[in-house]
Symmetry: C2
């Protein structure tokens, strides 16, 4: 049971038992920009991870996957650099990732396999361990407090993982959880992500760390993270391109006290619910800060024959360049939405489909509904979130996908720099 | 056996036994623009068709499919209008399509089911049969000759089906075919398409008509069209959006004489080969004239584990906004190509992948190869076709996909008109 959910400022800085910091270590040319985030658990603690499905996955992805499976999987630290993705770097890249965990472990007095690594930035450029050797001790010396009151430190970590993000992205909330034994505990979940952006001359990635002071078993943490990410961060699309470095970690410090929550415990439902809310908040921030975006697009599909159909239909709309440019042009162009669901592979009959844009019905039973174009333009001007509701009339499955409009800004960021 | 293949100017105007014309009938506001194409066979003749898979398919698609399955499937005429897609128009739209075939049949003295219809333009706008009632008799009076020397008439038909295409698209070639009985015949295959473009405020479509004076059975024509389109027009992508109105027709007038070619005849292989060449020519024209395009992108994938894998990998590259904007920015950004094949779903190992761009090797065995960036920029400047070769190192299947770069022009055409 989840009660008294209240949003908090900041992200990871709210989590008791976790210290974090972001510093400028020299991965980037610009010495003003932070580029190394370090997250340290007071005691090694339960951590779960989800990773990119891209076959061209980067060395840190491979190594962190391995570390999460090793030993008891308790993690002492997470090291994230921006500016270099350490992807397509072969054996030397893997050596750098391994070396990074050794440097960190030596400094913190833990095992290398208790350290996770993640990188974001240029693909195919060599990454030297020297910058880590220099930066990690410095980061440790500047680490924020472990008391859950380290807002500045949390912010600096969120800044250090940014690439083309226009602002750091954090979310946190506190809530009351009723445990199996009837006792009530107050917990916090908080986290940070970086948006799917690009840096010259190569693509960057989505990275995220969420954490809670609630005590979870490893299995419970894994289940909770997968459940939350499946309906939030995995439902974001900016340009349909999946990075080589995506990963999200979920840390449970247990510093909030109470009985440890395991698979099968009622309390785990509450944790999943709370984690999902935080991850949805972060997911929406990523979509809204998509490259060149001026509008967040939320695509709700209901009435699908299956969850797969719902996802295919919503994703086809959210990824359609024609829908995304129409939104950029403030055009309630439902024909393009119909086209997108029609090509998606989802099963339905066109005569059963209804569509509304910004709460204005534009298509019912597959046919156009006259609508007030001036009112549509007014809503486009006023609303920063454009909601598209689609009823396929083919079943009872549903989903939501978050995207953004496609503007000249996207082309400029990704195509102009060499011209 | 196929011999002496020679390209010809024009398209359908070269086909003996076929008359065609394009006129301005009033579907568009601009009276200067042709918007009605009429293709008439001297005698009803074998015709095959392939159609969009989009569930939101338009009334003319449904009706033409039906007519091709009816009776002996011999077709007297094809009527194509631009300016209005007659899609999402419900029962009235279907009545208009039916009425169009009746008007045409009455004028030409054939059965309504011997008439095919196709439309391209705005989705969801009512289409009146009145414009056809007025335009079709006029088109018939201006019909080009049936002698295979009607270049002007062929051009006018190609112009009448254009939407945002910047120029009409035609292709034709003559060739010598050795028949089963050893006799040699000279035949011609020619055709026209319109490129996947857009018209305000809705998406338009890919439409094509190809024809030959070689005599084919219905079954042979169907097989030849599917075989040719699968590796040509179905391998084009401008923006990954599938229209509601796509269709391609293949007409065999038989006016070139010789024995009728059936399924199982050796000569059918020659026809398929020749038809594939013409369709590839048209497919490349569509990709190159993609909205806002400055470069044709040809993605060759070899070494795939299956044809499906080859298609998935090549299509992922051809549709990736990051790859397409990189080409627009003259950036030989192979990291984005690696990312795209990595997310495609095709099976391979990154350490077996090789990639070259414009004949410059950029990645071998999954690792970067240093290349001359200045030379790459020179080639980007000089070449209008950018060839990307990818060897997945996972098998022996291969494919080619044609696409184009993604520029500010695409955003302007599709997103600027309301802002």
């Amino acid at each position: 049971m989840l009660n008294n959910v209240v949003s908090l400022e900041g992200g990871l800085g709210n989590i008791k038992g976790l210290g974090c910091v972001g510093i400028s270590a020299g991965f980037r040319r610009n010495p003003q920009r932070k580029d190394l985030a370090l997250i340290v658990a007071k005691e090694p603690c339960v951590t779960a991870g989800v990773f990119t499905q891209n076959i061209f996955c980067a060395a840190p992805v491979i190594l962190s996957k391995k570390h999460l499976m090793q030993a008891d999987g308790k993690i002492k630290a997470i090291v994230i650099n921006s500016g270099n993705a350490n992807a397509s770097t072969g054996e030397p890249g893997m050596q750098t990732a391994v070396e990074t965990t050794k440097i960190t472990a030596k400094q913190l007095g833990c095992l290398p396999e208790q350290v996770l690594v993640a990188s974001t930035g240029v693909i195919g450029a060599p990454l030297s361990a020297d910058v880590f050797a220099d930066g990690i001790p410095r980061a440790i010396s500047e680490l924020g407090s472990f008391d859950g009151l380290a807002q500045d430190a949390g912010l600096s970590a969120a800044e250090a993982i940014m690439t083309t993000d226009t602002h750091p992205k954090q979310a946190a909330q506190k809530f009351t959880l009723v445990q199996n034994d009837g006792s009530e505990y107050k917990y916090i979940i908080g986290g940070m992500v970086k948006g799917s952006g690009m840096i010259q001359p190569n693509m960057a990635t989505m990275l995220g760390v969420v954490a809670t002071d609630a005590p979870l078993t490893k299995a419970a943490a894994n289940i909770a993270l997968k459940a939350a990410v499946d309906v939030t961060l995995n439902k974001v699309t900016v340009d349909s391109d999946t990075s080589t470095n995506d990963c999200v970690f979920f840390v449970s410090t247990g510093a909030g006290g109470g009985e440890t929550i395991d698979v099968g415990d009622m309390a785990l439902d509450g944790i999943i619910q709370a984690l999902t809310m935080v991850c949805e908040n972060l997911a929406r921030q990523i979509a809204f800060d998509g490259e060149g975006a001026t509008r967040l697009i939320t695509v709700n599909v209901v009435g699908a024959a299956s969850e797969t159909d719902a996802d295919m239909a919503a994703r086809a709309v959210a990824n359609s360049p024609l829908v995304k440019t129409a939104i950029a042009g403030h055009d309630a162009n439902w024909g393009r939405i119909a086209m997108a669901i029609g090509k998606s592979g989802a099963s339905f009959k066109q005569e059963n489909v209804s569509i509304s844009i910004m709460d204005m019905p534009v298509c019912e039973k597959g046919l156009p509904i006259p609508f007030d174009e001036d009112e549509a333009l007014r809503r486009f001007d006023e609303q920063t979130e454009i909601v598209i509701n689609i009823d396929l009339g083919a079943g009872s499955a549903s989903t939501t996908i978050w995207s953004c409009d496609l503007t000249h800004g996207y082309i400029s960021i990704n195509g102009d720099y060499r011209s």
